[in-house]
Subunit: 136 residues, 3 copies
């Protein structure tokens, strides 16, 4: 078994944003030399997340971020955390800070409409995402 | 290390539905010949998901789907995606499109009440779930 | 490739609670003898979860639990499950019952502010968390 780990950088420009990182992850997979196995995409931050969702119509991303902002507004009566980003932390926990994708023939096994997104919930910031490929 | 990957088919009959696929996944594990390792269950669709939850009382599934439908109704003011399934996409991202279960003695290591569910959020449809077992 | 699996115990004291288990997981990683690979942290219960979030300011945990309790109150009109913990099951599915963390140099690869939490949504109870390290 081989293991290859690399870090990719993501620069965000809004407080809430989803950035398609599929091609960056696919590059790491291709250059890893691993043909068959799996790929973990891990976000090293507590106010960001990783998700897999539609990468065709940008309206889907708009609607998902809008829904999250309505259900988890920045201000909520009773919040104690003084940085004003408690909503960012809860969104991170619900979306999740990592995803895993299978690798076959040195390619990510994604459905037709699936893309891998870094989710920014407290931007704009410079972020790090760690990608690990494990396999044969 | 060995890697075995198989696809299982799921046919759904409602717009929102949870279908227990534990026995289908267990069959793939058993026939893989892998005794010790892990199993990734991955949904190849952006309006479905995979979760692990109670498989004893069907009322739990009813209550979970009802809660999701109340918090994420199909219509929300401001939705731009023209297919009318923005709620399906956000539910997919929050539930998540994959799960991982440990494998020991060629069996899934699940708690007493845990079952693996395919979650349909935009049915009825014919769906694909990819199962990968990795181990020794 | 080597695989090491161990179970850790968590005792909770409230109905909703997040307990930092990072050091317990790190102990399993260190004693596994595996230098490079990944670590799966899996909750064997359907009313608990595993998440990764800030472990610096305890106000973050307070605010996250408060948000979950407001969005998913114990009582909701229409709940059929007779045990009175349908909210616990839906929180478990949304937070998720497992996390994966990369391992390098026999250490968990976590961001500066990231800790691993067991999430109790139907306590107080005695809980089991399974930790599996896979790698070289």
């Amino acid at each position: 078994m081989n293991i290859v780990t690399e870090t990719i950088s993501v620069k965000t420009s809004k407080r809430n944003q989803m950035i398609d990182i599929t091609s960056q992850v696919a590059d790491v997979v291709r250059s890893s030399g691993i043909a068959n196995g799996d790929c973990i995409i891990f976000c090293n931050h507590t106010t960001g997340g990783i998700t897999i969702n539609e990468n065709a119509d940008p309206a889907v991303v708009h609607d998902m971020l809008m829904t999250l902002e309505e259900l988890f507004p920045q201000d909520r009566r009773g919040y104690r955390h003084s940085e004003g980003n408690s909503d960012s932390h809860i969104k991170s926990t619900l979306v999740g800070c990592s995803e895993q994708v299978l690798v076959e023939h040195s390619k990510l096994v994604l459905g037709t409409w699936q893309g891998i997104y870094f989710c920014e919930f407290d931007g704009p910031r410079s972020r790090k995402v760690t990608v690990q490929i494990k396999g044969l």
